[in-house]
């Protein structure tokens, strides 16, 4: 259908970003193709050590899913996006395809091996999430392609993650967010993934920050180095949510807190976190 309707047609998933954008005339599609009535596009299942999310799976369904809870950082994200009403409509596939620089899912899922299964007139293909998100509001999707499934590898038992976002209120996009996933070997961090949201055109993988933790015990010194590297990796723009300096300071604070929670979760502790409000 998209191929027939031309370049100005758009897919409508949950509509919680697209409809507001249309009202503001930032988006002006000639046609909308509603995906909401297609059966079999909303599911959560575990297959061979990976969680598979149908593109039209609502945030609220992921929030309530015991299967999805197997990856705590995924639950953190689903349970904290906007508010109840938005989570009841918004979808994981729609959010990733929207590629908003302040979106939650991309930042969270970039800490884990994640693949996007795309379906188009030329058939199916699989794209790594890091390659899928190209730029602000820009993905690797062709015009006649859609997201079919999001596949996230379940991290090992000695791994723990946490996602924290700092928001002015529930319904708004976060000011800054940080996702941290650590794999521990006793007290030593074997591997670290640290991704920052809202402080660049896309979610930013803070590789220097990860390097500051990898192979180290999570001491105050290592934490400080990771925070400093994360602040340096951020490229925040001043706006109504805060100055660049303020956002950089938040980056450090969120990376610290998320890392501390990730360590506890990697030890098997049950830690509940939620988004932080100003």
């Amino acid at each position: 259908m998209l191929a027939q309707l031309g370049d100005d047609a758009k897919l409508l998933a949950g509509g919680q970003s697209l409809i507001p954008l249309m009202k503001l005339r930032f988006a002006n599609p000639t046609h909308l193709v509603d995906l909401n009535f297609i059966p079999g596009t909303s599911f959560i299942k575990e297959v061979n050590g990976a969680l598979h999310f149908g593109a039209m799976t609502r945030h609220a369904e992921i929030e309530a899913s015991s299967v999805a809870a197997e990856i705590p950082i995924v639950h953190d994200c689903a349970a904290g996006i906007a508010d109840v009403q938005v989570r009841n409509r918004g979808t994981i596939g729609g959010s990733l395809a929207e590629a908003d620089p302040s979106g939650d899912w991309a930042a969270v899922l970039m800490t884990l091996p994640t693949e996007i299964r795309c379906l188009g007139t030329n058939g199916e293909r699989t794209v790594r999430l890091a390659d899928f998100i190209k730029d602000a509001y820009t993905t690797a999707l062709e015009h006649d392609e859609l997201v079919q499934e999001v596949v996230v590898r379940v991290p090992p038992k000695n791994s723990g993650g946490a996602y924290l976002s700092f928001k002015r209120s529930a319904p708004v996009y976060p000011t800054v967010s940080a996702a941290v996933q650590l794999t521990m070997d006793g007290d030593v961090c074997k591997d670290a993934a640290i991704v920052l949201g809202c402080v660049g055109l896309t979610a930013i993988k803070a590789t220097e920050s990860e390097a500051a933790l990898r192979g180290q015990a999570i001491t105050e010194k290592a934490l400080s180095a990771a925070m400093e590297a994360a602040r340096a990796a951020a490229d925040p723009q001043p706006d109504m949510r805060g100055s660049a300096e303020y956002k950089r300071t938040l980056v450090g604070a969120l990376v610290r807190r998320a890392t501390e929670i990730a360590v506890r979760r990697a030890r098997g502790e049950h830690v509940e976190v939620s988004h932080i409000y100003a």
């Binding site: 409809i19 109840v84 938005v86 319904p171």
Partner: protein
């Protein structure tokens, strides 16, 4: 973009609103809240911000709270919609309505219909919500009178009154 003079083809949809089946012709661009207020004359559902922020337009769609300014009417084809007008039964206020009144859970009343429907989703899934759960359930409903304390008490009271219902 269509010219102003161009007529837009209407679509027929069937939906149940407050238990009553309706068959209506709508333009595809019509928002659900516009259908409710302007076509069905159910003006209890309010439009506050019209930008998916305030939650004044919250209704239940198949039991789930949604912002009716952020979906198209055609997307409710085949659905069951509950608005504030559908809360009372046989002239009796719903326990949630009664609790909002008893606890002074409203000042200007603009946000109240949305808040009561968010409360209904909460209490239909969680009979004994904790403080945090109540706060989370209404995080998408803004009260510009900032009367949240009494709204919070109203929800606690409604939960108490609805036990065993």
């Amino acid at each position: 973009m269509p010219e102003a003079s161009q007529t837009i083809e209407k679509v027929t949809i069937q939906l149940t609103v407050n238990g009553k089946p309706h068959s209506v012709n709508v333009e595809p661009r019509t928002l659900l809240v516009e259908l409710l207020r302007e076509t069905l004359d159910l003006t209890g559902t309010h439009v506050g911000c019209d930008t998916t922020y305030c939650g004044a337009c919250t209704v239940l769609l198949n039991g789930a709270a949604v912002k009716s300014c952020t979906m198209f009417a055609v997307q409710a084809d085949g659905a069951e919609v509950l608005t504030v007008e559908g809360l009372e039964k046989d002239g009796q206020l719903h326990p949630i309505q009664k609790a909002f009144g008893d606890c002074f859970g409203l000042q200007c009343g603009y946000c109240t219909p949305g808040l009561m429907l968010s409360t209904l989703q909460l209490l239909s899934r969680n009979k004994q919500p904790g403080d945090k759960e109540i706060r989370k359930a209404i995080a998408g409903n803004t009260c510009r009178c900032t009367g949240y304390q009494n709204i919070f008490k109203a929800i606690q009271s409604a939960a108490e009154n609805m036990k065993g219902v």
